[in-house]
């Protein structure tokens, strides 16, 4: 019995493509996503890839979303299954009424077991074997041929695809023709064999103007170039490596000099202990230096981060979080380091953290991080994650303020030093907890000795209780200053569903980082179900005053985050005076990006007072 045809859903569906990693499917997936984007339709791309070089299952998900949502949808309407190893579970994942496309060169009766899904067989291997020569070419072409099938099924414009190929292979025009040939094969076959287009199709819109598609690591690397960073030290670790690659390639291109001499240094360190040591050494010596790492790297950097805190040395660390504990799942996403980054190192150590939610914030927060590190003379950690860092996001164009000048903080030059009687490194002249600083090589008068051992406010070694405590107490004052300087939380109160409100609802959702996109979508859906919730996204640590005020203004705040142990909630409990019962957790930590439905379920379960432990942890 043929399944019932899906109702027409224009510009609102999800395609998922399952392939074998290392076979060249990434270019076809990127091409399809861009083709939707170029059709003026907002799009979300998610790459679910293994920690492996070749031969393991890998998926790419393209969400076509006319509403412009930025999270994954959490369901699959069209599955293109090209990896026999994952056929069975790929078929399971398709929603009822959806479509399943597979390579029917080798018929697989088992795939016909779901009668609520339309199975579309395309002999991709046969088509490519008949039309291309050579094993490698045939495999590559098979992995571009399905793009043609999808173009026919979803009504994508072949001219748009051709245009994209022409740009990609501007220097190798023969590749445009061979790729186009493969796409045309798939396109023609699908048009002949099936009733094209499907009800799930793309229709041109004008909703992507002024936008780009970029991943967070690329944006952050570019941000470091614009922030004036000159030293990058790093040790390769997934999912942060592409951030350093991006910085390097942008610095090479955008900062090219006539004599070819570089105005930056990139050092691949021997480990993360060394990379953070280099970053601290370079910042101490006045360069804007940074590193990028992930959870295991943060663990290794702890001792040096404590040194940076106590010697009051700037440093910028991008932590592109992945799944922990330990090695965890290196190619899956989580907000796993909220706690360990905030308190990295022994002793009374606390660190300024920034929490970007998307690639554009990764870009802008780069300069913010360097400015704060210089202004506050302390390490600043920027906590992105794999979802933001490595996935392609549709973002507003990145812009640069031509008037921007780096804030180097209280850095005394030779002239300023000549005017003062004596330089005291750790003295609080301005009552904001921030001392003055000098660089090596400027003036013997400004010389001081940085040390991780106890020191006085004048910079001398000490084991005297009082002298030690003066410095430690001033560091606390500086921490309070920091809470005023970090980016403010984003707060958006919803109108009440009925009647007059005082501008605040009883319920709120609080999230951080990549929780932003699914939570915003969830708030829309909750509203459609008659539940109005207010919204806050924290963007910096220490928390500003507005965070506590917001939490106290709501009877219940759902703290949505992507880890098992409610790390954001733990920070909120520790660092604000908000009573425990006001904050209820909705936790997601399976390694996949969060989808709105999970948040909606969690809130509705609580609203309807149903216990649903799998979806939420209420403490």
């Amino acid at each position: 019995m043929p399944p019932k045809a899906a109702p027409e859903r224009v510009n609102d569906f999800v395609i998922k493509i399952g392939t074998v990693n290392g076979t060249g499917s990434a270019s076809a997936n990127g091409l399809l996503m861009k083709a939707v984007f170029r059709s003026g339709v907002p799009v979300v791309g998610k790459n679910y890839f293994p920690s492996n070089i070749q031969g393991a299952p890998t998926w790419y998900e393209i969400r076509v979303t006319r509403a412009g949502y930025r999270a994954r949808a959490g369901q699959v309407d069209i599955m293109v299954a090209l990896n026999p190893e994952s056929y069975a579970r790929d078929l399971q994942e398709v929603v009822s009424g959806g479509y399943f496309v597979y390579d029917c060169t080798w018929p697989r009766p088992a795939l016909l077991r779901r009668d609520d899904v339309t199975v579309l067989g395309v002999p991709l291997a046969r088509l490519c074997n008949e039309n291309f020569q050579g094993v490698r070419t045939r495999i590559l072409m098979k992995n571009i041929c399905y793009a043609g099938v999808l173009a026919a099924l979803c009504d994508l414009d072949l001219d748009v695809i051709r245009g994209l190929l022409a740009e990609t292979y501007a220097k190798k025009p023969q590749l445009v023709e061979s790729n186009m040939k493969a796409i045309q094969l798939g396109y023609d076959y699908a048009r002949k064999a099936f009733d094209c287009p499907l009800p799930l199709r793309v229709a041109k819109l004008d909703a992507t103007k002024g936008h780009i598609i970029i991943d967070g690591n690329t944006a952050a690397g570019l941000g470091c170039v614009y922030a004036g960073a000159t030293v990058g030290a790093w040790y390769p670790i997934t999912p942060s490596t592409s951030l350093m690659d991006a910085y390097k390639s942008f610095a090479e291109r955008l900062r090219a000099t006539p004599d070819g001499r570089k105005n930056y240094v990139m050092i691949q360190a021997e480990d993360e202990l060394a990379s953070i040591g280099m970053v601290i050494g370079a910042n101490w010596n006045g360069a804007r230096a940074f590193t990028a790492t992930s959870g295991p790297g943060i663990s290794l950097m702890q001792e040096f981060l404590g040194l940076g805190y106590y010697t009051e040395t700037p440093a910028v660390v991008f932590d592109v979080q992945r799944v922990g504990p330990s090695t965890g799942m290196p190619t899956r996403t989580q907000q796993s380091d909220l706690r360990s980054a905030a308190y990295a190192s022994h002793g009374d150590t606390r660190h300024v953290c920034l929490y970007p939610a998307n690639p554009e914030e990764c870009f802008y927060f780069a300069a913010t991080a360097f400015d704060l590190a210089d202004r506050l003379q302390t390490p600043v950690l920027v906590l992105s994650d794999l979802d933001i860092g490595m996935n392609d996001w549709m973002c507003p164009d990145l812009k640069w303020d031509e008037n921007y000048q780096p804030d180097r903080g209280k850095l005394l030059d030779a002239e300023q030093l000549s005017k003062i009687d004596k330089f005291w490194r750790y003295y609080d002249h301005d009552d904001d907890g921030i001392p003055q600083r000098t660089l090596p090589g400027v003036s013997a008068k400004g010389a001081w000795f940085a040390r991780g051992s106890g020191h006085t406010q004048y910079g001398a070694y000490t084991e005297d209780s009082r002298d030690y405590q003066i410095v430690l107490d001033r560091l606390r004052k500086k921490w309070i200053t920091a809470s005023r300087l970090v980016p403010k939380a984003i707060i958006e109160n919803s109108a009440p569903i009925e009647g007059e409100g005082n501008g605040t609802n009883e319920l709120a959702i609080v999230t951080v980082g990549s929780g932003d996109a699914p939570v915003r979508e969830a708030i829309d859906r909750l509203r459609a179900q008659g539940v109005a919730v207010d919204y806050m996204r924290v963007r910096g640590f220490p928390f500003g005053e507005e965070v506590e005020t917001f939490l106290n203004a709501h009877k219940t705040s759902f703290i949505v985050e992507q880890n098992r142990d409610a790390q954001l909630r733990a920070l909120l409990l520790l660092e604000t005076g908000v009573e425990k019962g006001r904050m209820r957790s909705i936790l997601h930590y399976n390694g996949m990006p969060l989808a709105a439905a999970y948040v909606v379920d969690g809130v509705m379960a609580a609203v309807q007072d149903r216990a649903r432990p799998a979806a939420q942890l209420v403490r």
Binding site: T230, R255, G281, W284, D397, K399, A444
Partner: protein
């Protein structure tokens, strides 16, 4: 007592260097190390070398890790910035600092524990990058601040204070550095200022990584008679005479002997260290020969001292490899680093 200010009274006729500065201008805080510590003699040699090289004090950068040796960066050139970092990780801080400003002189002071145990990895990679710095190891074969544990340079048969005997063979930093292709390798003895000062002077002028391993007896903890780098008290005498935390008072040792001769140096306690200076005709540029020579002498129980190996024109220095601009990166004006708003606007087209 931790820090006492030194009286800043200079004799009007103290000799002055090319900058018009006296040796006093290159001193630092008072040492808090044990009286007679070899490290203080090395400090004096560093002061002498910086003065003799007429270094502008603020153009020197002092770096160290953790340990007795690492404290010493506070005891010389108070007009220079210093960074006493974390245990064994000074090389990375030096690497970053050097990356930020290639024009300054970097001197790192470390110990055998700081370099050869906890910091071995960073030490090796600083050599691999041929970082332009002088790296001095104040090598006494023992952990001082934690009271007498063996370090990785302790000799087989060395006895700890409580009688434990070291059975693991030592790591020799000089042989290690030669193996790794270090471009400048020297060894000195803390008591031989006449040999050490020129080594440091040469190291400061070497445009790459200059390792100077300095045998520096620990008056307090390394007490095995016959150890090639100790002031070996006899066990009976030591324990009979002193409490566990008592520091025997002693005068620093000075030796002077002609090149090419082997010399037995009497130490405070009547024990001795055997030193051998290189033959004046020894070819310091031949790394393999240098290695073979010091290896053969080590097997005879002799530490070869002097300039062991130096490349005339060292390659692969960090900035040479990177082709870094001549202007130090920390002085690069932002205008030269900012690609500008228009460039960014143009760049956006690549992401559509």
């Amino acid at each position: 007592m931790t820090f006492m200010a030194k009286p800043k009274v200079a004799h009007p006729e103290l000799p002055r260097n090319a900058l018009g500065l006296t040796r006093r201008d290159y001193e630092g805080s008072n040492s808090t190390l044990c009286a007679g510590c070899g490290h203080d003699s090395i400090t004096a040699s560093i002061v002498e070398a910086c003065w003799a090289n007429a270094l502008q004090p603020q153009n020197l950068v002092k770096l160290s890790g953790i340990g007795c040796s690492s404290k010493t960066t506070a005891y010389f050139v108070s007009g220079a910035h210093g960074f006493n970092s974390v245990h064994g990780r000074m090389p990375s801080v030096a690497t970053g600092a050097n990356a930020a400003n290639r024009k300054l002189h970097y001197i790192g002071v470390s110990g055998d524990g700081d370099t050869l145990s906890i910091g071995l990895g960073q030490f090796i990679h600083a050599i691999r990058r041929n970082l332009n710095m002088v790296y001095i190891i104040e090598n006494n074969g023992v952990y001082g601040l934690t009271k007498g544990q063996f370090s990785a340079s302790a000799d087989v048969g060395t006895k700890a204070k409580k009688g434990e005997v070291n059975s693991q063979p030592p790591i020799d930093p000089v042989q290690l550095a030669l193996t790794l292709g270090a471009s400048f390798v020297g060894r000195g003895f803390s008591g031989d200022k006449r040999q050490l000062v020129p080594l440091i002077q040469a190291g400061l002028r070497h445009p790459g990584f200059a390792l100077i391993d300095v045998l520096s007896p620990c008056v307090t903890f390394n007490d095995h008679e016959g150890s090639t780098k100790s002031y070996a008290y006899t066990r009976e005498h030591y324990h009979a005479a002193v409490e566990a935390d008592y520091v025997p008072r002693a005068e620093a040792i000075a030796v002077d002997y002609p090149a090419g001769e082997s010399l037995l140096v009497p130490l405070h306690d009547g024990s001795q260290v055997r030193l051998r200076k290189l033959e004046p005709a020894f070819d310091t540029r031949n790394r393999a020969n240098a290695y073979a020579y010091i290896d053969a002498k080590l097997h005879e129980g002799e530490y070869v001292t002097g300039l062991i190996h130096a490349q005339d024109a060292p390659e692969h220095e960090l900035h040479a490899v990177n082709r870094t601009a001549a202007t130090p990166l920390n002085r690069m004006p932002y205008e030269r680093l900012n690609p500008g708003a228009a460039t960014l606007a143009k760049l956006m087209a690549r992401y559509r």
